[in-house]
Structures are given as structure tokens and as C-alpha cells.
Symmetry: C2
Subunit: 240 residues, 2 copies
DNA sequence: AAGTGGTCTAGACCACGGC
DNA sequence: CCGTGGTCTAGACCACTTC
């Protein structure tokens, strides 16, 4: 009888971790065959169904591909399509450092439309933070975010020059960000935006209005981003 | 012993079909509890694992939600985020009729960049189709699509005023569209585009460049769309 | 023919939610 | 407490791919 898990992790997750580690360590490259269900069951001393579950959920995550009659193979490197990432994370994934400059911050109480998007009453206190994102010392985006001020009291006093707002929310407040709904369109730069982004007034900008939700399905933050065209392209994958 | 499937469909898929039918027939509404694993196992005369598999994959598809200790519930109606749909389908989903006007069509053989995107040699013959999309008799988008002319001979002669290009590809050519990668940015209307869309030159437009892939992973069509801001917003859901 | 993934059984114990 | 989903066993046969 196999000793049951007593380090907290289910057996199938341990198998997954082992496979993921071998991929990250480049012992397994895309296209390489992963141990079969039967092999894994034997190696890890579990039943076939458990080994199978490990591979099935790894396939769902896109880590491996399974072909009946052939085997299980390491999937091509994951493209970060449709992935909700903070600016800091996006830059890091390209090997760049994130720089941003806080333009203004305030607590507002008369933004009924934004409050409504966050499912708050019209006169709720909103913490607003306006930042210019830079890459290679050139501004490429103006991002304004809004959060319920009551729920995140420390933000108003805190320093956000350095840390990522995502990280602050996840670490300090234990918020689990799950997904974001985004509205994307195009708009012309007004005078103030043009100055902040160092473009001429009327320049086309990509506008992304983002409503972020926690894993409990609660709207927790609203962000309006204006992106210089040419400097920023949004990549999306849509499925039929 | 339960009689094994002999109508072709695996047991777990029959269970899924039964549940889906009850949802479509409105016998089950969003939020309603679905039979538990144990109930389903009993009703359909299968083992627990099989009933479980049926619910687990239904959850992955977003049809139901499962909560440990509580039960399985019909998920809220699926929002058509991140879904690859033809213009015709998009309009239909909003209860509108699709209207579009063919501006030009041609077979080109000197578009190396586009040919490259379709993984074709630089001088390949490309069938190009330029259409203005209308809603309520007002133009709101200019879409230009490119396809390998050799693979779709009938298109050049065919009439696309009415039928959907998606439908033609799927029905006439047996193409299974699977997904599209899109690059989205903002640009200013040039003179010709401005005239076709009835806006002034320099108006910001949302530009979507779409590369469509078949279920075999082959790039089969490239589309550049220019959308009037205000008239068209792209909706996206991103996951963490 | 050998090996793979896909489906399935008839149970078991655990962790969690709601009453 | 009871019912739920989550994990797991030790097998089985089928369908498919590769050789």
C-alpha cells in the first residue's frame, strides 16, 4: 500500500511538479515524450487513474500534449496570450525593468460612473492613482487606477513608486486576482495626456478600460490605460 | 453489470448531454443545483468516477460550477468573451442583421509581408477582399482580408456580398477555424479610409490585425480591420 | 504485436459546507 | 451531522498509433 500524502500535496500534483521541474531544467524539451501513464504510475507508486489525472490536468494547462496511441509530449513554449499581468510582470517577462512615475493620487468621492463599475454606491470614496509608464526612458502609457478607498486604507499613505500595485494587493491584502474584463477602443490624445506622453494633441491612442475581479468574482479595481500607438500592441488569442 | 455503451457515445458524454439538454430546455436555470455525482452515478447506472468525469469536464467548459461541500450548479450564461466570431455571427448574437459592401477584390502577387504571415512564399498569389461593414446604414469598419488564392479558387469568382466568408470557408472548403492571433493598436485614418468610413482624416481608429488558424494549426487567412472608435469596442477577458 | 491514451468499475477515505 | 466534491486504488477492456 502506498503511503498516503502527508506533506500536504496530493499525489497527482507531486507528479505534475516533477514533470514541470524536468521541463524547466531543460531535461525535457518541447516535443519530447513524457513518461507514459503506466510508467508514471509505477515510478510514483500510484494507481493508473492518479497518473492519468496528473497528465490530463497538465494537458489542460497547456504544459503537455497527449496523442492517443502515441504518447504524451512536452507542449511548445507557452505564449502568454490572454494573460492578466501587471506592468511589472509584463516588463519582466521581456527582460526589462519596469519604470513608472506617479503623476497624481487622491481620494475622490464624486465619480459615480467609476463607483458603479466597482459595484459601489455613487459617492463612495475612491483611491485614484495616475501613473506614466516608461520604457527606455520614454513614456508610452498613462494609467489611472481606481480602488475602493475603504478597503485599501494603506494605499493612500503608501509609496507605490517602486512596488507593483498587483503585488501590494496580493501580498498585503491577500487579494487573489482572477481575471479582468477589458474594453478596448481608440481615442485621440487630449492636451494633458499629450503632454504627459510627449505626443501631439490628437494622436491616436489605444484605450484599455480594465475591470479586475478577485477569485471570488468581486470587482476590486478599475484601470483606464492610454497607450501610445506604435509603442504598444495588444496581443490576443481568440478561440472558436 | 451495467450494459456498456453500444450507441457509440461514452457514458460520461451521455450524462453531459442529458444535463445540457435540461439547461437548454430551461428546466435548469443558472444557479440551480445539478444532480450530485452520487445521484448521477445511480441514475445513469455508472460508477462514481464516471459521473465525476462528466461533471468535471462540464465545469471545464464553463457549463457548471462545482463547490466542494456544497454541490454542482448551473453556471451563469456564458459571456462570449474571447470568442472568434465572424462579423455575421457577431451581429446575429446582438439580434442585428449584417450588412457589408465589397469595395474591391483582386488577386495580388507582390505582398511579401502578408504572404509571410500566411507562411507562403513571397510572391504567392493572394486573394484580397476589401469590405466596409455597416450597422444601421452607417459604416463602422473597413476590413481587408487575404487568403491563399490557390487554395480557394472559387472565391475570386464567387459572390461574397451576402454569404459570410467564415461560412464559405467552413462549408465549401471544409476548413475548421480554430483560433486567431490578433494584434491590436491604434492608428489614424488616412485619406482613403476616412472617406470610406465617413470620418475626417486623422481620426483615431482601432486597428486589429488578425491571423486565423485552422484546427490543424495552419494559418489560413489574414485580416486587417480598421474600426471607428465609439462605434466599436473590443471586449476581452484575461485570466491570471 | 506492443505500447499508448480513453473509458470504466466498485469501492475507499478525506476535507469542506451548511444545517 | 450528513451530503458534497476531491483524491485514490487496482484492476479491466477498448481504440488507436507505431513498428
Amino acid at each position: 500500500m502506498p503511503e498516503r500524502r502527508r506533506n500536504g500535496l496530493p499525489a497527482y500534483q507531486k507528479i505534475q511538479r516533477a514533470i514541470r521541474q524536468r521541463i524547466e531544467a531543460k531535461q525535457l524539451k518541447p516535443g519530447d515524450a513524457v513518461s507514459s501513464e503506466r510508467e508514471l504510475a509505477r515510478i510514483h507508486n500510484v494507481s493508473l487513474m492518479t497518473a492519468r489525472h496528473a497528465l490530463a490536468t497538465l494537458e489542460r494547462e497547456g504544459v503537455v500534449e497527449r496523442r492517443r496511441g502515441a504518447g504524451t509530449f512536452v507542449a511548445p513554449p507557452r505564449i502568454q496570450f490572454n494573460k492578466l499581468m501587471s506592468y511589472t510582470e509584463q516588463m519582466a517577462s521581456r527582460g526589462l525593468a519596469a519604470h513608472s512615475k506617479v503623476i497624481s493620487s487622491a481620494v475622490l468621492d464624486n465619480e459615480p460612473e467609476i463607483a458603479a463599475r466597482l459595484s459601489l454606491s455613487a459617492s463612495s470614496h475612491l483611491f485614484m492613482l495616475e501613473r506614466v509608464r516608461q520604457a527606455a526612458d520614454e513614456p508610452f502609457a498613462l494609467e489611472t487606477c481606481y480602488l475602493p478607498a475603504d478597503e485599501f486604507p494603506a494605499l493612500a499613505g503608501g509609496t507605490l513608486e517602486r512596488g507593483s500595485l498587483f503585488m501590494t494587493l496580493e501580498r498585503e491584502y491577500g487579494i487573489e486576482l482572477a481575471y479582468a474584463d477589458e474594453e478596448i477602443d481608440s481615442t485621440a490624445a487630449d492636451l494633458r495626456t499629450a503632454e504627459l506622453l510627449a505626443v501631439t494633441r490628437g494622436t491616436p491612442l489605444l484605450r484599455i478600460r480594465q475591470l479586475l475581479f478577485t477569485s471570488k468574482g468581486k470587482a476590486c479595481m478599475y484601470v483606464v490605460g492610454l497607450y501610445r500607438s506604435g509603442r504598444h500592441t495588444l496581443l490576443i488569442r481568440r478561440f472558436r
